[in-house]
């Protein structure tokens, strides 16, 4: 579903992402971990089309983000680390805005908005302007807006930050269910226990380079993900 081949991204002279290759197959949950500033967000921004990149290729279900950006974006959803969404709209207006852009059929839209907003307990707040929402509520709305158009690939940057424990649990449950239905998920996180428990594959990135990649079972053979992470990057 997601194929990153030899991706390199530079900011001036500085190499932020250095020749990385990753593949996420349908039904997989891929965890992307690393220190602050290791290149996680840059990689994610390249995948979703926010940042242009110099070398390599990224394709979603066979379509290149460089050559067919609209087709790629139609298939995926992105949730940023900071839920900066249109504060002047109400929650429901934002969800309808996203649904209209992705051409979500009326009844399906109503059902999905109803389902997810009730699950994340913001249904009653949907008529309030987003500026009145707490950080967690905005994060929940961003998650719902990503799910409302049933993407094939979900790309999340630190999705659990700001969510209350119940919402974190719910999101994990939803992620697992969606993957069972064939969706692919690529997400970054600092919560190693969640990554270990939730993911099928993991990559550890350091200074723009992938230092470990593989299935959770392979990587955690020597110990917990936290132990492996510390052994790999602890002295950095």
């Amino acid at each position: 579903m997601l194929k990153i081949i030899n991706l390199t991204k530079r900011y001036g002279d500085k190499i932020a992402v250095d020749n990385i290759s990753i593949e996420v197959k349908p039904g997989e949950i891929f965890g992307f971990v690393g220190h602050n500033g290791a290149g996680k967000t840059t990689t994610i921004k390249c995948i979703v089309g926010i940042l242009a990149f110099e070398e390599g290729n990224i394709s979603i279900d066979g379509a290149s983000i460089k050559d067919e950006p609209i087709k790629c974006k139609e298939m995926m959803a992105y949730i940023p680390d900071n839920p900066d969404i249109y504060e002047n709209l109400t929650g429901i207006q934002y969800l309808n805005f996203v649904s209209d852009i992705y051409n979500v059929e009326k009844n399906l839209r109503r059902n999905l908005i109803d389902k997810y907003s009730k699950e994340f307990e913001i249904y009653e707040n949907l008529d309030n302007v987003i500026s009145s929402y707490s950080h967690g509520m905005k994060q929940k709305l961003a998650v719902i807006s990503a799910l409302v158009h049933s993407p094939k690939l979900l790309v999340l940057d630190e999705p659990f930050v700001g969510l209350d424990p119940k919402a974190q649990f719910k999101l994990k449950e939803i992620m697992e269910n969606l993957c069972n239905e064939g969706m692919s998920i690529f997400f970054s996180s600092h919560v190693l226990a969640v990554v270990e428990k939730l993911c099928t594959k993991i990559a550890i990135i350091n200074k723009g380079k992938i230092v470990r990649i593989g299935s959770v079972e392979d990587i955690t053979k020597e110990g917990s993900l936290e132990d492996v992470f510390m052994a790999t990057l602890g002295d950095e």
Partner: protein
């Protein structure tokens, strides 16, 4: 360092962007900025000096020159008052949350804010009062005592008007915090104030004559309520030390009292202003699916109407034109041209109307900050499956929707007032609509070239960005060029209009091609 001084230091650095002086800008750029600032200051100061000279001459004819400086004092005070009211909303009531989490007394926070507002008021006092009192002193050949007393009056001048402005801003803040739709209330209030100021400034001559004819009444009013202006007159004309002390005392005490009285309610108002209307419970409604373009346009409209400073800055031209057009129906047909000091006998009315309306169009451009205004939400447009040309189109359509309906109403009313034929009215509508399209496209190009996505407040992007400056002035220069073309070539009106039509269409085609190629590339490179 005391907490007040620490806060003041941070507030001053933030308000005057002093941190930018340490930026990586080259020396040449820094020197350029200083030279431009100096030139602007010299031009402003000399203009005020010239107006004082003319005013003093006028009042000298009636032997009333002693009222010149008190009038300037009043003008200065009013300007400080108005600008403080305008700033109070965003500055006094736009505090960061974390400042209240720090162990700082509300009175210290309020004092720091009021002092910075007073420092800003000194800019106005320096620009208006300093050249005026120097010009006045030179004209009346006054001695050193005059300059000493006038200087002391200048030092304490901004205190009371700033405090009054804060109180008025405070009252507005209080009522705004009680009203559900804060933004509309704020916009209406600001428009009402601007219209009052415009009425006063356009009637300055009539008011000056009324002043001259009713000087005894003015004296009576000054004697009863305008004690501070009276004190000011005594300081300037009689060098009264007693009045100087009263003047200084009143100004300082007003500020201290303001802080002492309002320090407690300050926090309460801030808390109320931060509470958005969250009482509504969602009730499911039927949703209609829309096309991508319609969705984007609707989003643009919602964003536009939720940012008062954006509305104010871009609708000002057409709204003022609407009032002017109504005034031509009921008041004076030539009011518009009198306001702009245009000789109606030199150019046909029909052409003048096109010129005046065209002049308003660049002032009403929403596109010259249309990309920047996305700010931290820009990622949404970049990650969604939207054609970039649809984004551009939605920004242009917003501009057309904001400007065209009001402009067409203005033109129809002008058409009735000036008895234009239907063909003439339609020509004005067509020409100004095409100009509006050209300006919208230009605004978009210029904003793509000079975007400002990392702004802190909407004021920075709507009022102070380079793209807005260029988006207004470049079209105005082009319009002046087109006007000069008419005068230089002495063509018939019909031929001239045809040439302008052709030129505008050529500009539109050129801009379309720029947006289609460079514009899309540039949009993709922004993040």
């Amino acid at each position: 360092m005391s907490k007040l001084l620490l806060l003041l230091k941070v507030d001053i650095i933030r308000t005057f962007s002093l941190d930018k002086l340490k930026s990586n800008k080259s020396k040449i750029k820094k020197i350029g900025i200083v030279i431009i600032a100096l030139l602007l200051a010299i031009s402003l100061l000399s203009q005020v000096g010239m107006y004082t000279y003319m005013g003093t001459n006028f009042f000298m004819k009636y032997g009333l020159e002693k009222y010149v400086l008190p009038l300037i004092y009043f003008l200065c005070g009013f300007t400080i008052f108005y600008s403080t009211v305008y700033r109070a909303k965003s500055y006094l009531f736009g505090c960061d949350d974390n400042i209240f989490a720090m162990p700082i007394k509300p009175s210290v926070i309020l004092a720091s804010k009021v002092i910075v507002l007073t420092i800003l008021s000194y800019v106005i006092t320096t620009v208006i009062f300093v050249p005026a009192f120097i010009t006045y002193g030179i004209m009346l050949k006054l001695g050193i005592m005059y300059y000493v007393y006038a200087f002391l009056a200048y030092i304490f001048m901004p205190f009371l008007p700033t405090v009054l402005g804060c109180i008025f801003g405070y009252i507005i803040g209080y009522f705004t915090s009680k009203v559900n739709n804060k933004k509309i209330f704020e916009t209406i209030l600001t428009y009402a104030t601007i219209l009052i100021i415009m009425y006063l400034s356009f009637n300055v001559q009539t008011l000056a004559l009324k002043f001259v004819n009713n000087v005894e009444l003015v004296n009576k009013i000054l004697g009863s309520v305008g004690f501070l202006i009276n004190s000011f007159m005594a300081i300037i004309s009689r060098y009264s030390f007693k009045d100087l002390l009263i003047y200084i005392f009143t100004n300082i005490v007003s500020m201290v009292l303001f802080i002492a009285i309002f320090k407690n309610s300050y926090v309460r108002i801030l808390q109320n202003l931060k509470v958005e209307n969250t009482k509504k419970k969602y009730i499911e409604k039927e949703h209609k699916s829309k096309s991508t373009l319609a969705t984007l346009v609707l989003k643009e409209l919602k964003m536009y109407f939720s940012i008062p400073i954006y509305i104010l800055n871009t609708s000002f031209g057409v709204v003022i034109m609407l009032f002017a057009s109504i005034a031509t129906l009921f008041y004076d047909k030539n009011i518009l041209f009198k306001m702009m000091e245009i000789d109606v006998t030199s150019v046909p009315i029909y052409l003048l109307l096109i010129g005046v309306i065209a002049f308003c169009i660049p002032l009403s451009s929403t596109t010259d900050c249309g990309i920047s205004i996305e700010g931290k939400n820009f990622w949404i447009l970049k990650t969604m499956p939207i054609k970039i040309k649809d984004v551009f189109l939605s920004k242009i359509i917003l501009n057309m929707l904001i400007v065209l309906p009001l402009m067409i109403i203005d033109i129809i009313i002008f058409g009735i007032s000036f008895k234009l034929t239907i063909v003439q009215v339609l020509t004005v509508i067509a020409l100004t609509s095409i100009l509006n399209l050209a300006c919208s496209m230009f605004g978009l190009i210029i904003n793509l070239k000079f975007p400002r996505l990392d702004f802190i407040s909407y004021t920075h992007v709507v009022k102070q960005s380079f793209s807005v400056f260029l988006g207004i002035f470049v079209p105005l220069i082009v319009l002046l060029g087109l006007g000069a073309l008419y005068v230089a070539l002495k063509l018939s009106i019909d031929t001239y209009i045809l040439i302008v039509f052709a030129l505008l269409l050529a500009i539109i085609v050129l801009q379309y091609n720029i947006l289609k190629s460079w514009g899309i590339r540039k949009f993709n490179s922004l993040n």
